[in-house]
Assembly symmetry: C2
Homo-oligomer: 361 residues x 2
């Protein structure tokens, strides 16, 4: 462990995917290390430490979140808490000057996110949400190859989904208390809405609209599914679909004035060590319309051990390292992306609330 | 030539894709033959005959559409006329008891299509529109494999496009006179709207809505681009995008409760002699969310010389042969598909006219 090492604490040990974080930190050694885990249930925290191979000699196991935040050795925290707890504990973490990676959505609405980001800003700490795919080498490759090189031209239409099926008997158990009132729009929509923003260089849409009759709720009013359209003046539209009733799908299709691009696994690539996308550019039907002049090009990006989780944490550790050593200040790009994503989510939720009318941003 | 041979006349020799019809009929020989071509410009008709290798010894070349319809040797006509002329001449062809293949959209609205289909029905002639892709072996394979076998489950969301770029300087020349008032919604939307209907077993949506601000017109009011949503109670939605401002795209993505399917060349396959689609079923993220339990399956259907045009004309010739020999009556399935497609197009156009409000069917 050196002065540059980022020392992590984990707030919340109840969800399976927190194990992925441990695995990623281990791969980053010696630039990052886990020094504490905490959960309101000490037993849950202990079991988590044991099952993830965290040695009691080096890792403190706490029966509360506070103790992790009070641990002065800790530079940064990872928050895989239930969504309705994230905002509160992220604000507390900011108050203790802990840098943080907060699972998505990091708050229940834009107001809570704003107070969270203000806590980070006023305390000079780095914030990053858990939308890992933005850190993937494929994402960078698409930006460089497709957007910047004009292969795609101007974006005309974007389609994106994040759907994952919940067994029918469990749909009734999904609640606003656990998911926040945005329900699937926040939990799942964070991805396709983020993908649209990304494709539009993080420009906010002019307005959004939940598609009439696309909203499905359970008997407690929790939103289980929603489709929405996002509009960019003058000539770009996007549609997104998020649902707990649909099969696992994570699609992103962008149609531009000069080309098209498809990624069907943008959230989590089919395989960890490589990822692909397909595109066409300058496509036309051949004479007599019996085929195309070009076929889709498939581009595969090899990642080796630099999975998207490792890429994300590498970036986070680099930023925190810069702050720790006094070389740089907290990077505002990542919180800004989170802020815009949440603003659009809130607008879609508002559209649902007002009967699927247009909501301007 | 036998009694079973279907003798074709072509109404309109001005468009390039009429040559594809000649090529297809030639491949079908001896079940189909072209005996006449007609165009208001005799020179255009003559040039068409020469450039398509139609011998003046066997093929009559007329300087009008009427003469083709008056030619009693002709069983059936192909109408690659401008869209605003199709309806009128199709009605005339029906009156002369000619079976017909009419390019899509076959009429400018549902009312005109209805009079056309009534003319066919009352004269006992077969009607078919030019949506060739419905006849492709791949289409049948998807129906059989994906829809019927429950690989896909219930359809939850459909996304489909048909976009083809028109050079900027030519966009102003696109007119309602040439395209009909539905513009791109009819000319291009016939495909994605037809694809949604197909995926929903040709059930009409409950309502449709043009997406606000998605509609682009030129200075004469011709519709150049439109996105729309189609809604099926209780839990299926579809979005379609048709545009003369976007790069060539013909995408169809269907997300079901159990699987997903993608076809990016559903209108005209990349290659004439084979076509593919991809699907996943039962997909889940693997433990720790570092990949998927399945990767997309690619299914390729080999067609050989039985291209989708040949498949369509084979079906048409089979149906006309049945009628000619008194064995069967005109098949109502194909006109019914056209009717429903046009009803949805009209509803989307109406939604545009009323400010992108919901229009019930």
């Amino acid at each position: 462990m050196t002065d540059k090492t980022v020392r992590f604490g984990i707030l919340g040990c109840a969800v399976k995917y927190a194990s992925k974080f441990v695995r990623t930190v281990t791969l980053l050694s010696p630039n990052a290390v886990i020094l504490a885990v905490g959960d309101p249930s000490l037993e849950t925290a202990k079991n988590f430490a044991v099952s993830n191979g965290l040695s009691p000699e080096t890792v403190a196991v706490y029966g509360s979140y506070e103790e992790v935040l009070d641990d002065e050795r800790i530079d940064a925290v990872y928050l895989p808490l239930p969504v309705t707890l994230r905002g509160r504990w992220a604000v507390a973490a900011g108050g203790e000057k802990k840098h943080m990676v907060v699972e998505k959505p990091p708050a229940i609405d834009a107001a809570e996110l704003e107070s969270l980001l203000e806590a980070c800003e006023s305390n000079g700490v780095q914030f990053m949400d858990g939308a890992i795919w933005l850190h993937h080498q494929r994402t960078a490759r698409i930006e460089e190859m497709v957007f910047n090189s004009e292969l795609l031209g101007d974006v005309r239409h974007i389609y994106s989904t994040m759907t994952t099926p919940v067994p029918e008997q469990a749909l009734e158990r999904l609640s606003k208390d656990a998911m926040g009132s945005a329900g699937a729009i926040g939990e799942l929509g964070w991805y396709p809405i983020g993908a649209v923003l990304w494709a539009m260089a993080h420009e906010l849409p002019t307005f959004v609209m939940a598609l009439p009759s696309s909203v499905v709720t359970n008997s407690s009013g929790a939103i289980l599914a929603c489709s929405a359209s996002l509009h960019y003046a003058p000539t770009a539209t996007a549609t997104v679909h998020c649902s707990f009733l649909s099969h696992l799908s994570t699609e992103l299709a962008i149609t531009g004035s000069k080309g098209s691009i498809w990624v069907n696994d943008y959230v989590i690539p089919y395989e960890e060590d490589k990822a692909s996308f397909e595109y066409t550019t300058g496509a036309q039907f051949v004479d007599m319309h019996v085929g195309w002049n070009v076929k889709p090009e498939k581009v595969t990006v090899e990642c080796g051990e630099m999975s998207q989780e490792v890429m994300m944490l590498t970036e986070f550790v680099r930023l925190v390292g810069g702050i720790k050593s006094g070389v740089s200040k907290a990077d505002r790009r990542w919180p800004e992306i989170s802020r815009k994503t949440q603003l659009v989510i809130d607008a879609v939720k508002k559209s649902v609330d007002v009967g699927c009318k247009v909501v301007y941003l």
